[in-house]
Symmetry: C2
Subunit: 214 residues, 2 copies
DNA sequence: TGTACATCAGTGAACGCGCGTTCACTGATGTAC
DNA sequence: TGTACATCAGTGAACGCGCGTTCACTGATGTAC
């Protein structure tokens, strides 16, 4: 990806990324065509190829941007300072619930990048890096609360917990009809059970029903 | 999909499905072209279109076949009779480990169908049905062992446990390099932690280290 | 401050590759009498 | 048991659509003197 030399071309580039993101969210990667991207970005095909060597580079760049945003969001959500005065179980629950919300909001993008990762090594690697980053953040959070759970290996527990949470939520995103009103397992309920599972795995005692109180 | 009238065309059809499956496992859905499928199947393009209305139908049929096989495999693995004389925790561990093995063996196919489900409602629905089927089987298994864990809602617990297991394993399949020798979290280790998580979530007491003894 | 030139940025019609699909045809299998 | 006919199964060259990519060109911005 050729970095722009002037402010206006930087703006053009961002418009293209935004257009691609919107199109993915609406109709998946398959619906992203260069001509439609540039049409939405108010640009032209030539301008596109002046910035990106090819179409793949656009999607790669977008993926990088999305991973960065996700990590930044997690950094805020998992900041230990934010939870100092909150009960451990409650904090875990809130984080899981927030994550579930984020996944639902960005469902289209998330699914598209899952599909890309399934087919393309580069996406899989960026994805793995994101998971590592999330695990590191969770590790920092858990280290602050070391005396509130019993799992002997905090690092391992962080990695596995991220897998449990992200895996379940993504699998949920895969199968759920977004418009199904009477879903057998709504997000809120899943988040609650998921929290219980994570807390139980960590070895943090929790009384039944406590989570639901807000 | 037009059902064949003679045995030989049934064979042709199966050859095509097998060819497509092999190609997916090797190079993902993108590598599947009609001409290559028929070449491998020792058939011809016309024969293809006499069976399938279009290329999508081939992949759909293959997905149905795979889901059926997966469910049949799970039916054997989760048959309560098979585990009557086995410790509960050990049985859960063995099942999770077996599932992890299956996922690794069918990694290519699994990833391809995840990608399809991300882009196509029909695949997502079949996938959701498979998960429901797995949950039902787990529910039957757990019902036989009702007195060995404390989770109050067996049905809910079954659904969530399937999500935890399949989600984590699939997410693992997404990010892992299959050829990386020094993976930070090898299958065996993940299966163990995953079992602990599931057991803890179910409320089945387990002493540390017990799982590893074989 | 103005002029000339270089580089950056953008335009969109035209090209062409790959792959799904069609179709006119040949061969194989089954059935009626 | 043999012959005629109908249907099923298979063949592969040719077509054409869609979309990524190229390229010859115009316009905008910056810089030197």
């Amino acid at each position: 990806v050729k970095p722009p030399q002037q402010a206006r071309s930087q703006k053009t580039l961002e418009n293209m990324l935004d257009a691609a993101e919107a199109m993915i969210a609406e109709g998946g990667v398959a619906s992203v065509t260069v001509s439609e991207v540039v049409r939405r970005a108010g640009s032209s095909v030539g301008a596109f190829y002046a910035r990106f060597p090819d179409k793949d580079a656009l999607l790669s760049t977008l993926h990088q941007r999305s991973c960065g945003e996700a990590l930044a969001t997690a950094e805020l959500a998992l900041d230990p300072a934010r939870w100092v005065s909150t009960d451990f179980a409650r904090a875990v629950f809130e984080v899981v619930r927030f994550t579930a919300l984020q996944c639902r909001e960005r469902r289209g993008l998330m699914l598209a990048f899952i599909a890309m990762a399934a087919n393309d090594r580069a996406y899989a690697e960026r994805r793995a890096q994101l998971d590592d980053g999330l695990a590191a953040l969770l590790h920092a959070f858990l280290s602050e609360r070391r005396d509130e759970f019993t799992h002997p290996d905090v690092r391992l527990a962080s990695t596995v917990a991220i897998r449990l949470i992200m895996g379940s939520l993504e699998l949920g995103g895969l199968s759920r009809q977004p418009d199904d009103p009477e879903n057998s397992l709504p997000d809120e309920r899943l988040a609650e059970e998921l929290s219980r599972a994570v807390l139980a795995y960590l070895g943090a005692p929790i009384s039944v029903g406590r989570l639901r109180r807000s």
